[in-house]
Amino acid sequence: MSQVITRQRSTDGKPKLRRFHQARWDEPIIFELSREGQRGILVPQVEDEIRNEVGDVLATLPETMRRKQPPKLPELSQPQVLRHYVRLSQETLGTDLNIDVGQGTCTMKYSPKVNDQLARMLEMTELHPLQDEETVQGILEVMYRFEQILKEISGLDRFSLQPGAGSAAIYTNASIIRAYHESRGEAGQRDEIITTIFSHPSNAACAKTAGFKIIALYPDEDGYPDLEALKAAVSERTAGLLITNPEDTGLFNPKIEEFVSVVHEAGGLCAYDQANANGILGITRAREAGFDLCHFNLHKTFSSPHGCGGPAVGAVGVTQELARFLPVPVIEFDGSKYHLNYDRPESIGKIGPFYGVAPVVLRAYAWVMSLGAEGLREVAEIAVLNNNYLLKKMLEIPGVSAPYAKGKRRIEQVRYSWEGLTKETGVHSEEIGLRAADFGVHYWTSHHPFIVPEPCTVEPTESYSKDELDEYAAILAHVAEEARTNPELVKTAPHNSTIHTIDHTPLDDPSQWAMTWRAYLRKVRKEAR
């Protein structure tokens, strides 16, 4: 019996691909489950004495302010609400479930459960941000200590944990750059920010939101940011440089120092987007390269879970000279107590309502504390080893290439190209990705615009075992083979996923698009609600 199973599950000791099928509940939209009168939870009753004293409070509202009809929310009992959302959860492929190396640039590493446990302690969840400082010394201590950790990792002098994710942090950096030039009377003159095409698109978008004109540099033939192009881009209008390094190609720019000095010479500031820091922790820092600002994504490098897209923290770091512009308040320690300091007249103001998403900071702190300096170094080295190992396996798949810097090593991720396979078979990168979903993994192409043709960006991180990396490569190799022998199967994928091929046409048509159930009923089903 066991031999039959072994034969089915492996060939010559190598595991066969799993016969995966994602949960498919064909679950209705929650409104369709509604039955009048059902209650999911009951709210606390107002005591009679209060009622007697206040009477009918709603009558104190003017007619125009009183809601006439209760909101048309669905009515379900509690177990039905739970069942519905647990089913939807099953239909979501989180890192807890899959070999999540296919979401390149997202750094989908393991988010330790013990840190989630800590983040759910009452001493974290039941704190109001405006409580007297005396009563929140614990969380202030965690945030302060974490700031010290980031200072050491980056070499910079002060941090703010207020921005709500990477893009918010980039925006904060752009705002600080703006404030800096304003303080020197050069704000009108310096209105250009330089970035690169392979940096995260938010570098351009956020700087633009802050009022800057953007100049983007295309890579040179080797895939590195073009230093000559930078020299052509700087002028007396340069406010600064916003650059990701390593870029999404996984290449560390060996001329990063020159980049910084060219911009400094022109009078601009340099901000280091460290979203791709996972491969260089303890190896190289923002300070030595000359950067004035940087940011880290705590939900990427520092293990806080991604939460379907937040909550998150984008920690912003600056040199001493720029510290006065940081968002307010900053956390200070006087030797015995932690304080929130609002007395920062040159601060850019508030980025968000309070001090940042504290439970995310807590998880990041705990993660660093479990590893220490040696551990962080190990994280970086293994993340890079895993990436280069997977690179070797990927390049063994006919039709796959890793454009740029031929023969060179990569840092923590690689942007591959399926162009060879596409030319041969007509199967496109996106289609390969959808077929990969039939084996229970994610796959991401690239940010727009697609500079690398038929792209696929993979970032293993340090969290997956050799066996798991082998499995991921085996899946893509198998799909590539199918592209040659059975392209229709690949082109019509996914087959084993939660739903079947989506028809996007209504999403582009204003008369058809529906972002809410009520709009859908009205526009598509032509039903009144």
Binding site: V46, M65, P71, G211, G307, N386, M515
Partner: protein
């Protein structure tokens, strides 16, 4: 156990020396150093980073962090009447259960196939918010209510093609600071005064300031200071008469009983969904929403992603995707559409669960219950000598200003004394709104019992009449 004896880090599977060796061999590398050969020597860290000693065992780590957190005093041990943007409401157990599910907690940006559940959950969030707000378009959550307000204002500026926004003076100073920073490129902010008796936005002042340069009028309901703006329709009329857009910031938990702003003329509605199932978390449970009607000119201006329903190749199956239309000429505005990034999606899913549990009756009951309790609190607090509650003669929702001018004590002193009695008093407004004298912002929700409120009143009496 020291470094050499450690055979593998729990979070780093391939750190086992034998596996590491094997992999290095396969990629023909001597050591990990080979991979960093393109990094110039000058930029290489020569020494180990100076970080705290690691706590390898989970047991020691937990103990360490728990030890630090134990220095906190929570709103369970203390009786809190704090609000001002972060609120203590009951968090249903099912909300915590759903947002702890590993799949939701650790998912990110998969396709609408492998992450279909995430898409459906967020679509349902938007749909239920749509019912609460009576509007057709709601975005995937942004960072917080501050961001929602700031983006709403810039959206309005793009839509109206104008650069000026008029904001009620009773807005929080911190929110205003965010708006000022965010709207710095080319926008002008003017503050509109309020009636000292009622707190209500002064319509005359609004009429005097508004012009054809005004892109938007921004008001909040309830106000940051807790009272309900009763003349929303007048405000929106004035705005529309001048071709300006009316933006209203709301507290979603009030919408079971308060009129959705679209019904008194709001074009854009925004706010923070933290009250809908998120623990306070020291301010870490915030998430912002922006809602509009379905007209193209509004939809085009959202910087956030909008998820729409789409059919699949199987009849009756639900699919989702980004509404990603070819943006045409009237949509392209100068500043671009801000940005899209990670924000607060998990809180959106949590709010969906909350609204599904509460249903229509729950939302009506909670709104009415909160108003009753806060009204009771106002009446009782007003009985303390020298104290005025509420300061503004208007209906209130869950927050209200309490004035202590007649007591001869500062808010700081009173709060210190309350603290000693295990109570967090309301936010001190003295510096933020000096014209209100010695005032504080108190918040009462459904978690407060009559005994809680009575205890506050007794404590105030004790502290003030001493």
């Amino acid at each position: 156990m020291n470094e050499e004896q450690l055979t593998g880090y729990p979070y780093i599977p391939n750190s086992v020396p034998a596996v590491k060796e094997q992999m290095l061999k396969e990629v023909r590398a001597e050591s990990a150093e080979d991979f960093y050969e393109d990094i110039p020597e000058r930029l290489r860290l020569k020494e180990k980073m100076n970080l705290p000693q690691p706590l390898w065992s989970e047991c020691a780590l937990k103990r360490h962090v728990e030890g630090i957190l134990a220095k906190n005093k929570t709103c369970r041990e203390y009786l809190s009447f704090l609000g001002a943007g972060c609120y203590q409401h009951h968090v249903p157990a099912v909300c915590d259960e759903v947002n702890q599910r590993g799949e939701f907690l650790t998912a990110y940006a998969g396709e609408p196939y492998d992450d279909h559940g995430r898409f459906q959950a967020l679509f349902e969030y938007a749909s239920m918010m749509g019912e609460l707000l009576n509007m057709d378009v709601v975005n995937v959550p942004t960072y917080d209510g501050f961001q929602a307000a700031a983006t709403s204002i810039r959206m309005a500026s793009r839509i109206a093609g104008r650069r000026e926004v008029l904001i009620s003076r009773t807005i929080s100073a911190e929110k205003l600071s965010k708006i000022r920073d965010y709207c710095k490129p080319g926008m002008e902010i003017k503050l509109i005064g309020y009636d000292f008796e009622t707190g209500q936005l002064a319509l005359d002042a609004l009429k005097a300031e508004i012009s054809s340069k005004t892109a938007a009028v921004y008001m909040e309901n309830p106000s940051y200071l807790g009272f309900i703006e009763t003349r929303g329709d007048d405000i929106s009329s004035i705005a529309h008469d001048h071709g300006a857009i009316c933006i209203v910031g709301v507290d979603p938990i009030s919408l079971g009983i308060l009129t959705p702003p679209v019904e008194y003329g709001a074009d854009i509605v925004c706010g923070d969904i933290q009250p809908l199932g998120m623990h306070m978390q020291f301010g870490g449970g915030q998430a912002g929403f922006i809602a509009t009607r379905g007209e193209e000119k509004y939809v085009m201006e959202y910087p956030s992603r909008l998820f729409g329903m789409a059919p699949t190749s199987v009849e009756g199956e639900y699919g989702f995707g980004d509404v990603a239309y070819e943006r045409t000429s009237f949509a392209v505005r100068e500043e671009g559409k801000e940005w899209v990034g990670t924000a607060s999606a998990l809180w959106g899913i949590t709010a969906a669960v909350y609204l599904a549990l509460m249903g229509p009756r729950g939302m009506v009951e909670i709104g009415e219950g909160i108003m009753s309790r806060s009204r009771y609190a106002m009446l009782e607090i007003a009985k303390v000598k020298g104290v005025k509650a509420p300061l503004f003669q208007s209906p209130h929702f869950k927050e209200f200003v309490v004035n202590f001018d007649g007591t001869g004590k500062t808010v700081a002193e009173i709060n210190k004394a309350l603290l000693a009695r295990g109570i967090f008093g309301g936010k001190d407004l003295t510096r933020e709104f000096p014209e209100l004298g010695h005032s504080a912002l108190y918040c009462v929700t459904e978690v407060h019992t009559k005994d809680d409120i009575d205890r506050l009143v007794d404590a105030l009496k004790e502290v003030i009449e001493k």
